[in-house]
């Protein structure tokens, strides 16, 4: 092209829009009003003191937040959070419309990848989840997909973390029962990277905490937001909020209430340390009024995912999204369709840290099959979001002229040069003709291929082991933790028997 061209604005990715700027600020504004007018119950004296010093009105355990204070906290919270892998390499830039995907935490059941049995999770399952995540190219971070049942109960979170960090180098987003366990996890993570200082500078860990809608922040929840700021570790502070049950039956009302929930955590977190990294968002769904379950597959789920991502973008705070999950209890077409739609919407809206790939039965069971399927879908959606290049080379008008009407492009040099970078190559989608599919692929369904791939990945998994010294340090943390938990348990027995 020899000439210049002016005023040429292009889409470098697909563009999506749900809420107008005005609608987003309406929702944020409503959240500010909820916190000032209605307030939230905060069941932690430590937290209430912090809020009081920050200028809130305290009435029993109800805290009301001045709009100015909430807005200040939203402004000081960073708009960009970097997460690294266990080796200090930068892996996730949580800001703007950058999207990353991973599994979800703490399911009650787990689908055995060899027998397909739905059973209680074991620590070996947690190890498998780490291995699979490590191997899947479109999975960027890791969560446990099931609380292990065969370890000391009050330390299942800590054991799970160790199992994950031993089997994956990728960043880990992890939950914990309480601040004590969070301490254990941070200690272990610090051991892995050679000290708390290193962990703070290049965190491979983000913590997770969940308030209870509507407007209730247990000591467990809010103290975690405070702990995270004290330790300066990124924390996700987000509700699982149910439209029609724990939130209004209207989607906008649910969004506003959910934003308010996160904001309580943000205020506490920022008051403790201005600029501490914190992530908002959450799991927004409806209660299905026919079956009373919290649906992970509804179209409203997808809409609210997009909505909360967009509001968070306007607020300039990184957002925790949800996708790749299903209400189906088995690997079938419903599980696939629901996963596809949520993965698409999350990418379109540009949510940042998108979790729950692998959640089935509306979260009751974690499934690595679902996770492996989600990985394939994410690959497709990535290609879609990459959009289309309109350039002279891509338009290929000279080649069109050369080939002419009724010609073909298969043998064209231009085709050979370009087809690889223009197209996505599936690993699980089958595009064979019927007869080939029957004879060469055994007439198998995608479900069959998913199960085979999952087992193959597990068999071939190879994560470099952590150094002996790190292993020893982590063992020591666990021993100390077990000791503490034993004392807690017998301490409470003693005081019970004293009565």
């Amino acid at each position: 092209m020899k000439h210049s061209r002016a005023r040429y604005t292009v889409n470098k990715t697909a563009k999506f829009r749900l809420l107008s700027e005005g609608q987003r600020t309406q929702i944020y504004s409503a959240a500010l009003e909820i916190l000032e007018k209605t307030g939230a119950k905060v069941h932690s004296e430590k937290a209430r003191d912090i809020f009081k010093k920050g200028g809130c009105w305290i009435n029993g355990d109800v805290v009301r937040f001045p709009v100015g204070l909430s807005e200040w906290a939203v402004r000081t919270a960073p708009s960009k959070i970097l997460l690294y892998d266990r080796n200090g390499n930068r892996k996730m830039d949580l800001t703007d419309h950058n999207s990353y995907y991973g599994p979800g935490p703490s399911n009650t059941y787990h689908i055995d990848p060899y027998t397909e049995e739905r059973r209680k999770p074991k620590i070996s399952d947690t190890e498998n989840v780490g291995k699979i995540c490590e191997a899947l190219p479109n999975i960027d971070f890791v969560q446990d997909l099931g609380t292990p049942d065969d370890v000391p109960t009050s330390l299942a979170d800590v054991y799970a973390f160790r199992a994950l960090v031993n089997n994956t180098t990728k960043p880990i987003v992890h939950w914990g029962f309480g601040v004590d366990q969070y301490g254990d996890i941070v200690d272990m993570a610090s051991a892995v990277v050679g000290g708390l200082d290193s962990l703070q500078n290049r965190p491979f860990l983000a913590l997770y905490s969940e308030p209870s809608s509507p407007l209730q922040h247990s000591a467990g929840a809010i103290d975690k937001a405070i702990f995270a700021a004290e330790k300066r570790i990124p924390v996700v502070y987000t509700p699982c909020i149910i439209s029609g049950a724990t939130a209004p039956a209207t989607l906008a009302g649910t969004l506003a209430l959910g934003v308010a929930e996160s904001m309580v955590g943000i205020v506490a977190n920022q008051l403790v340390r201005e600029g501490s990294p914190i992530i908002m968002g959450g799991v927004y769904g409806i209660m299905d009024m026919l079956t009373t379950i919290f649906s992970y597959g509804s179209p409203e789920f997808n809409l609210m995912q997009a909505g909360i991502a967009e509001v968070a973008h306007t607020m300039k705070i990184p957002v925790f999204g949800t996708a790749g999950c299903t209400d189906s209890h088995t690997l079938d077409a419903q599980a696939a369709a629901e996963a596809a739609m949520s993965i698409l919407l999350a990418a379109e809206a540009g949510a940042n840290l998108i979790h729950d790939c692998g959640y089935t039965g509306f979260g009751s069971a974690g499934s690595v099959y679902q996770l492996v399927m989600a990985d394939e879908i994410i690959g497709m959606v990535r290609r879609i979001m990459r959009g289309m290049e309109i350039t002279d080379e891509a338009l290929a008008l000279d080649d069109i002229e050369r080939v002419g009407p009724s010609g073909e492009f298969i043998t064209s040099e231009h085709t050979y040069k370009n087809f690889k970078k223009e197209t996505w190559f599936p690993t699980l989608m089958n595009r064979m003709r019927y007869s080939e599919w029957e004879s060469m692929a055994g007439g198998k369904s995608m479900g069959d291929f998913i199960k085979e791939k999952t087992r193959r990945l597990l068999d071939q998994a190879e994560t470099p082991a952590l150094p002996e010294e790190v292993q020893k340090q982590m063992d020591r943390v666990i021993l100390k933790a077990e000791d503490r938990e034993r004392k807690k348990a017998s301490g409470s027995q003693k005081s019970a028997s004293d009565k």
Partner: protein
């Protein structure tokens, strides 16, 4: 009092910016001026010559001004109606999206046995009946090419099988102008006359050029006849990036658009202002298996970009979705169908066909049609967006319920939950124990049950007996002309 508040009452997906659309249009016009297209029909060549094209045997180069004139004269809206009541049921314009099935597949999955059988009059009738019953399906294409009749008259039989089993609008295919003429005559019998059909059509023809850049004899003749009869026509290519068009998506689109536009010019020259629908099936050739992919992400991307072009040109668009390369209705089918259905609605394609297609367009599946009906419901709810207002923000309700309260019994909940949510008929949300107790059915099983249920119990609105016999006579007349072996 409030000012300066604008809302989105839907969501939108955009692949191409306005300037990228403009550039793509310029590229398509360059192809037409510089490379040109071939028409294998003398009548069409004469029309294009009279219009002022540069002729070179069958190769025609079209000056940009003719394209621009055609774009201006083509109507922004095409309306299709219900064949029994005459009610206008599809306003194809802007970003209104309607969904329907696909045409002419060689095979069909028997819902009773699961076998892959040859399509026939019977299977076309079955598929049509299912589409007629489904709430989210708006129009019909045959979902099978009738193979148990003399091939020269397959189209008349196919139309009859469809029109007997649905009152919804029909998109037809035809062998040639004789077939198309016969079908038009059948439609006129239904509407009560030529004028009536023209004013309020329930049928549109589908015809396609041969990529790259050629208009076959029958296709061109059908296009010209549509113009002469002033009836709506879908004239769109199926382009295969890397095979019949360049491997780059931009080059593929430029060629596909050029084919669209060269059909449009011929159509508008035949009858200025003729209802014309652009679009097509734009996809890639899979380089490993050489199939035309109905599930690739590049297919989704090009269809969304085509919707952007259709918006830019302000002409109604024929889209494609709800289809898959999978050979069975499995997870792949669901993923590929879901992505394309949702994206089509989000990008605002108008007449979206091929729902129910499996095996990259070779086979029709009633189960996939039924699942797609749910998927369209999803897509519609998602595209419907979120209402943000004082009522929906419900701050008073939040304040009244307070911290730790519950919204289940609130009047606000009762009032709004039905409006705010859409419940899919087939996607289940039961607790594990209940699902297990009820037979652990997969979505496919439930879809199959629904399809069988429709086949057993649904009664399409019949045509009057005299109209039915008129249609029969037209078919018999056509069959008599077929040379006996």
């Amino acid at each position: 009092m409030r000012s300066n508040y604008s809302v989105n009452e839907s969501c939108q997906l955009q692949v191409l910016s306005d300037e990228q659309c403009r550039r793509l249009l310029a590229a398509a016009i360059e192809v037409l001026e510089r490379t040109g297209v071939v028409y294998h029909d003398q009548d069409s060549l004469d029309i294009m010559k009279r219009a002022g094209c540069w002729m070179d045997g069958t190769r025609v180069r079209i000056p940009g001004k003719l394209v621009e004139r055609a774009l201006r004269s083509a109507p922004r809206k095409v309306t299709l109606s219900n064949s029994r009541t005459g009610a206008r049921v599809m306003e194809l314009e802007g970003n209104n999206s309607y969904f329907g099935t696909g045409s002419d597949t060689p095979f069909f999955i028997d819902p009773y046995t699961g076998d892959r059988i040859k399509a026939s009059r019977e299977t076309v009738g079955m598929a049509t009946k299912v589409v007629d019953a489904l709430a989210n399906m708006d129009f019909v294409m045959s979902m099978g090419i009738v193979q148990d009749v003399p091939p020269q008259v397959y189209d008349r039989h196919q139309f009859e099988a469809m029109v007997l089993n649905t009152s919804k609008p029909i998109v037809i295919t035809a062998m040639d102008i004789a077939g198309y003429s016969d079908i038009i005559e059948m439609c006129e019998a239904i509407t009560g006359g030529e004028e009536e059909l023209r004013r309020n059509p329930f049928m549109t023809l589908y015809a396609e050029p041969i990529s790259p850049l050629a208009h076959g004899r029958e296709a061109a003749q059908k296009l010209v006849l549509a113009g002469k009869k002033q009836l709506p026509v879908v004239y769109t290519p199926c382009i295969m990036a890397g095979s019949t068009v360049p491997a780059t998506l931009a080059g593929a689109m430029a060629t596909g658009l050029a084919e669209n536009l060269s059909g449009l010019v011929l159509n508008q020259q035949t009858h200025e202002g003729n209802p014309f629908i652009m679009g097509g099936v734009f996809s890639i050739m899979d380089m490993q298996t050489t199939i035309f992919s109905y599930g690739a992400p590049e297919f989704d991307l090009m269809m969304a970009a085509l919707a952007d072009m259709s918006n830019f040109l302000d002409i109604p668009m024929f889209g494609t979705a709800g289809c898959t390369d999978a050979k069975t209705v499995d997870e792949q089918a669901a993923i590929e169908s879901a992505l394309s259905v949702v994206m089509s609605a989000q990008s605002g394609a108008n007449l979206i066909h091929d729902l129910g297609y499996i095996e990259h367009g070779n086979t029709a599946s009633l189960e996939n049609i039924v699942i797609c009906d749910d998927l369209v419901g999803y897509a519609r709810r998602i595209t419907g967006g979120i209402e943000v207002s004082d009522e929906t923000l419900a701050l008073d309700v939040v304040d009244a319920v307070g911290p730790g309260g519950n919204y289940l019994m609130e009047e606000h909940t009762l009032k709004y939950f039905k409006k705010e949510t859409w419940y899919p008929p087939l996607f289940e949300r039961k607790i594990f124990e209940k699902w297990a107790a009820e037979g652990q059915k997969t979505l496919l099983k439930r879809a199959n049950e629904r399809a069988l249920d429709i086949l057993e119990s649904h009664q399409p609105e019949p045509l009057p007996k005299n109209v039915q016999s008129r249609i029969r006579k037209i078919i018999e007349r056509a069959e008599q002309k077929v040379p006996k072996k």
